[in-house]
């Protein structure tokens, strides 16, 4: 197994606040990893650093053996990193299938001139893009909903549409920001299976932020715990569950002993 993403002491500050502090992380190809931590621990900021939305003040990010820190978001996306958002961010006034078509943007190449002349190349590309979009909608279980406006879809469908849109860019690494937020246990279970399916069937490496410990412990092979922007623990689900630092971060000082003997 080779490394797909490596961050070397990435640091991001907002004024005096250190949101991400010298974070080292290694993600293996074809793995499912999770970044967890209390609210405000810097998880989403870290995601934003990887995707180029923020430029880290210090440190480097290497993706597929290429330096990507400081690159623009769209360039990073083209290199094969896609993401979803904590508070679903679809293109609300576009239809579901148009959302997926936008996601395919990095793989479409026809110029605006051929769009005006409707050249054969343009037609072929559009047709195959449409076919691919339909396939992705079926893949995430949204068959038949493609012509609805994204904002009119039910919550769960919006989450899945967001993933379909991310998949449309054919990423090697998929960043999922709280994919099960706001879902009931049933939907959460489905999402777990779906994420595993993504990795097993499509070979996409998954890095996710998640608050639902059941999800994290079920699917991740590697867990990184952040607190106040600093990595406090790393390892497999078993190690993390019993790590006193983690329990302290989540529940406060003094709680560690109690939990360790408890059922969790």
């Amino acid at each position: 197994m080779s490394t797909i993403l490596e961050t070397k002491s990435v640091t991001k500050r907002f004024g005096g606040l250190v949101a991400v502090n010298a974070l080292d992380l290694v993600i293996e190809e074809n793995s499912i990893s999770a970044v967890i931590g209390p609210n405000g621990a810097g998880k989403t900021t870290f995601f934003n650093c990887i995707t180029g939305f923020y430029t880290p003040e210090e440190g480097g990010i290497v993706f597929n053996e290429k330096e990507i820190d400081g690159l623009r978001t769209d360039v990073v996306t083209r290199m094969g990193i896609a993401r979803t958002y904590q508070n679903i961010r679809l293109f609300p006034a576009m239809t579901a299938i148009e959302n997926v078509l936008v996601g395919q943007h990095p793989h479409l190449h026809t110029s605006w001139i051929s769009a005006v002349t409707r050249s054969a190349g343009f037609k072929d590309e559009e047709e195959s893009a449409l076919e691919e979009a339909r396939r992705l909608l079926r893949f995430v279980g949204l068959k038949g909903m493609g012509d609805q406006l994204a904002r009119n879809l039910p919550y769960g469908a919006q989450r899945r549409l967001e993933i379909a849109r991310a998949l449309a860019s054919q990423p090697a690494l998929l960043l999922l920001d709280e994919p099960t937020a706001g879902m009931n246990p049933n939907e959460t279970g489905e999402m777990i299976r779906f994420v595993q399916h993504l990795r097993d069937e499509l070979g996409i490496t998954i890095l996710l932020i998640e608050h639902d410990m059941r999800v994290v412990m079920t699917i991740s092979e590697q867990i990184t715990v952040l607190d106040y922007g600093t990595k406090i623990a790393e390892g497999g689900p078993k190690d993390i569950q019993s790590n006193p630092k983690v329990i302290e971060a989540y529940l406060g000082r003094g709680a560690a002993g109690g939990i360790e003997n408890g059922s969790n």
Binding site: R72, D74, R78, M94, A96, V102, H105, T110, V116
Partner: protein, 576 residues
């Protein structure tokens, strides 16, 4: 259904509001002026329509807000309508009372309060009788409005169409007469003699038109809507993407013939109106790309119109005052568009990182800067300063000099068709999706791999190209251009028309231009109140139909295709 609660006080408040509106129309002299235009002889003038429009509007809002049942609607309509009469009655008593006249003359303060206005409010009757009539009339109109709102849409639509068309023909009787007069063999003249007396419809002809329109609308609505034969119906998407079926081809051919013959059917004055509408369609289509698709609120759009016009002017004139190059129209046209595109990009670069209101303010500034530069002495050697650019060449098309409204109409027609075609095709492409994604959420669009700089500049450039084309045609039509031809109002007009028409919608641009540019040209005699009507229209539209007259369509891409794939899958299943 949930019962909406209201108190008497609510109704009286709404009534008073209606009353204020009715009073306002009178006090600013609108009623009196509008009263001179007779729609249906002998009893209905445009003033009467305006007199009742306040009541109709207020009752519309009140009924929608308060009344859920028909009985309630009656009550709301009657009360609100009757209360609406209060202020006009007070006014007519003040104006007619000799007791008050001794103290002060209301006309000294409000110059528009004439005897004629009081006569309109009182229907020419004695004040007391007239007031009662006004109350009753308003109450009746209120009830009718309420009833109308509560009727079945199946009846409402035909009635509305009938009323609108009848009043429209009455209002534009002069124009209709003129158009009919151009028909061959004097048929038109005899028709118009039948329809109109004294530039207004007769009662009989009004009734006939109303019944015909209502009847036809009703009949068409009752017909089952099967996909193929939906009467006059083809979408822009069909023309661009799918083939047309035969019925649609025939319809399209009829439209084409009408469009080609139009200037000769309507005469010189209406051709000029159509030309102006066409110019704004051109600009509207361009601005629609910038604002409607890409979501970049540009208030300085007139700048590119000016670049197109000035480039055309400077390149084609060759007088001692303006030593230009003396090119002909067709050679100069690509340069005019190119210069506009260039400045579209130049002015686009500084605003790349701006969003929403900041962008609007900066572009507003750019628009003004360009106008002031054109006016400046500094650039006067090139752009002519306040004197403008004179004697701009007219286009010559196969030896025919085009300069008249009728011939220039074809220029804007060709321009609009071309630009509309390009706009549709771009919208349904990768670039169109890039624009829309950027409009919806810039950050996410970038995270989808979209290069925002490129995408924004493309929108500015193409928008500027369309506007530059409009400017070039404009300058060739008017022959002399001056800096004040390129004021802020043009940007505002173009923006308003795409908002009223339906933002992001191409048919909306056409309707918007017809309503906001065409109508005011036809109603020149009321131009004093043009901006007021404009404002009222915008407010009412935003309250009642914020998505515009013709909202942008939602394109079905999956469904049609999915049926295909389903049949494919079935075929596979059966074959295996």
């Amino acid at each position: 259904m949930e019962e909406k609660t209201y108190t008497w006080r609510d109704l009286i408040n709404y009534g008073l509001l209606g009353s204020v509106v009715t009073l306002y129309f009178g006090m600013i002299g609108m009623l009196e002026l509008f009263d001179e235009r007779i729609l249906i002889t002998p009893f209905l003038s445009l003033g009467d329509v305006l007199l009742f429009s306040g009541v109709i509007g207020i009752v519309f809002f009140a009924v929608n807000k308060f009344a859920s049942s028909l009985n309630e609607a009656f009550k709301v309509g009657a009360v609100v309508g009757a209360v609406s009469a209060i202020f006009p009655i007070v006014l007519s008593f003040i104006a007619t009372s000799e007791l008050i006249a001794e103290q002060f003359v209301i006309r000294d303060v409000f110059v528009s309060v004439t005897d004629r206005l009081v006569e309109i409010y009182n229907f020419g009757l004695e004040p007391i009788v007239g007031s009662l009539v006004l109350i009753v009339a308003f109450a009746i109109v209120g009830v009718l409005t309420a009833l109308f709102i509560k009727t079945d849409p199946k009846i409402e639509r035909p009635l509305l169409m009938g009323i609108v068309l009848t009043l429209g023909i009455g209002l534009f009787s002069e124009n209709v007469t003129q158009i009919l007069g151009n028909l061959p063999a004097g048929i038109g003249r005899s028709i118009s003699r039948l329809l109109f007396t004294n530039k207004a419809l007769t009662i009989v002809s009004a009734l006939i038109i109303f019944l015909l329109t209502a009847g036809i609308t009703y009949w068409r609505m009752r017909r089952p809507t099967t996909g193929e034969s939906r009467g006059f119906n083809f979408s822009f998407e069909d023309i661009s993407n799918r083939g047309l079926n035969r019925a649609q081809m025939i319809q399209l051919a009829i439209v084409a013939v009408v469009l080609l013959l139009l200037p000769w059917m309507v005469g010189s004055f209406l051709s000029q109106v159509l030309f102006n509408v066409g110019l704004f369609i051109l600009m509207g289509l361009g601005l629609n790309i910038v604002v409607g698709y890409a979501g970049l609120l540009d208030l300085g759009y007139v700048a590119f119109f000016a670049f197109g016009a000035y480039t055309m002017g400077i390149l084609t004139t060759a007088t001692s005052l303006n030593p230009g190059l003396g090119l002909n129209f067709w050679t100069a046209l690509p340069f005019a568009i190119l210069i506009a595109v260039m400045f579209g990009i130049i002015l686009g670069v500084p605003v790349l990182n701006m969003r929403g209101d900041y962008l609007a303010i900066v572009t507003l500034g750019f628009g003004e800067i360009i106008r002031i530069l054109a006016l400046s002495d500094w650039l006067a050697p090139v752009m002519g300063g306040a004197q403008g650019v004179l004697k701009i060449a007219k286009p010559v098309f196969f030896g025919v000099e085009m300069g008249s409204p009728e011939t220039m109409y074809y220029m804007v027609l060709a321009g609009s068709l071309l630009v509309g075609f390009v706009a549709i095709r771009l919208r349904d492409s990768r670039l169109g999706r890039q624009w829309m994604a950027m409009r919806e959420d810039e950050d996410v669009a970038e995270a989808m791999g979209i290069n925002l700089v490129q995408t924004k500049l493309m929108a500015f450039a193409i928008g500027a190209a369309f506007s530059g084309l409009a400017g070039a045609i404009f300058s060739a039509r008017v022959n002399n251009i001056f800096p004040h031809s390129f004021n802020l109002l043009i940007s505002i007009n173009a923006l308003s028309l795409i908002i009223v028409g339906g933002i992001g919608s191409i048919p909306g641009v056409i309707i918007g231009a017809l309503v906001l540019v065409g109508l005011p040209e036809l109603l020149r005699e009321f131009s004093e109140y043009r901006l007021l009507m404009y404002g009222i229209l915008l407010i009412v539209m935003m309250l009642v139909r914020p998505e515009g007259f013709i909202p942008a369509e939602i394109y079905k891409r999956e469904l049609r295709a999915d049926e295909e794939t389903e049949t494919e899958i079935e075929a596979q299943v059966t074959s295996s």
